[in-house]
Amino acid sequence: MAVGLPRGVLATRLDELVSWCRKNSLWPMPFATACCGIELMATGASRHDVARFGAEVFRFSPRQCDLMIVAGRVVMKMMPVLQRIWLQMPEPKWCISMGVCASTGGVFDTYSVVQGIDRFMPVDVYVPGCPPRPEQLIQSIIDLQEKIQREGTLRGREFDDPRRQEPPRALR
């Protein structure tokens, strides 16, 4: 290189480096309420091994997590619990809505089931399927990694942009 860096020294933007660290050490919070949770467990197990993408450290305390994976249908009575856990997670944090139930309510078009968690809390990646295969969940984690690399900042407030504050009104 023209600047003549010594051997073993890499020049990059600090922003890029921090995002690279973050995206390769996601700590998921498994919010598994239904059969999607079984596929989530399979994703963490040896055959599919999500450790290959740095997201194997499932933590059951929201204080230690930065990736919420909502796996399964969420009912009215559970939504305040989900929101409370989401608020307890430290920034920066991301959310994957796994399966059609979490994303849209799925076949449960009833008075009690929330018709998509994105009406009441933010979601980054939606995974279709009923339930999705582990490969689909891994793909969503890869997509999320791309998003983190693209949007990440050092301030930990990636989403301060007011255009991103409002949930889609037409859906509510």
């Binding site: 009215m76 009575k77 939504m79 305040p80 929101q83 989401w86 608020l87 997670m89 430290p90 920034e91 078009d109 009833t110 008075y111 009690s112 089931v113 929330v114 018709q115 009406r119 009441f120 809390m121 933010p122 407030r157 989403f159 301060d160 991103r164 504050q165 409002e166 949930p167 509510r172």
Partner: protein
Amino acid sequence: MSLDETIDALKRAFPDVGASEFRGQRRVVVPREAIHRVLRALKEQYGFDMLVDLTCVDYLDYPDATDRFGLVYLLANTETNERITVRTFVNDPQPSVPSVVGLWEAANWLEREVWDMFGIRFDGHPDLRRILLPEGFEAHPLRKDYPLSGRGERHNLPVIRRGEA
């Protein structure tokens, strides 16, 4: 005392009671005014010491139905292994029946569930609160005039936006 004798004795004691049989299952239909006395007699005199289930049916828009809500008590005699179904009917407005928590403790949560889902009051229940649906839910969703997708109750939940923490 066999089940036939029990039902005969019950009909002598309560002339309003009607009896029927369907595929070997015996059931008695009791007017609402007599339901608590009949259930007390079944427990204390005829040995039906177990309340297996207590549930309700909404007969709104049902052909030939004269009453709206049918309450169903499934009783069992654990000594003789006999079972009997007791039914009664209640109507709008403010459907209510006397609570049987004093007879069978098992009725406590079952009556709360029927109150939650059908809005039938159980007079004398020690703690008649909702058991399945969240506090503050207005409707009784197993009534047939309640829409399947609800009346917008879940849309009253708070919305959390990006950046709130």
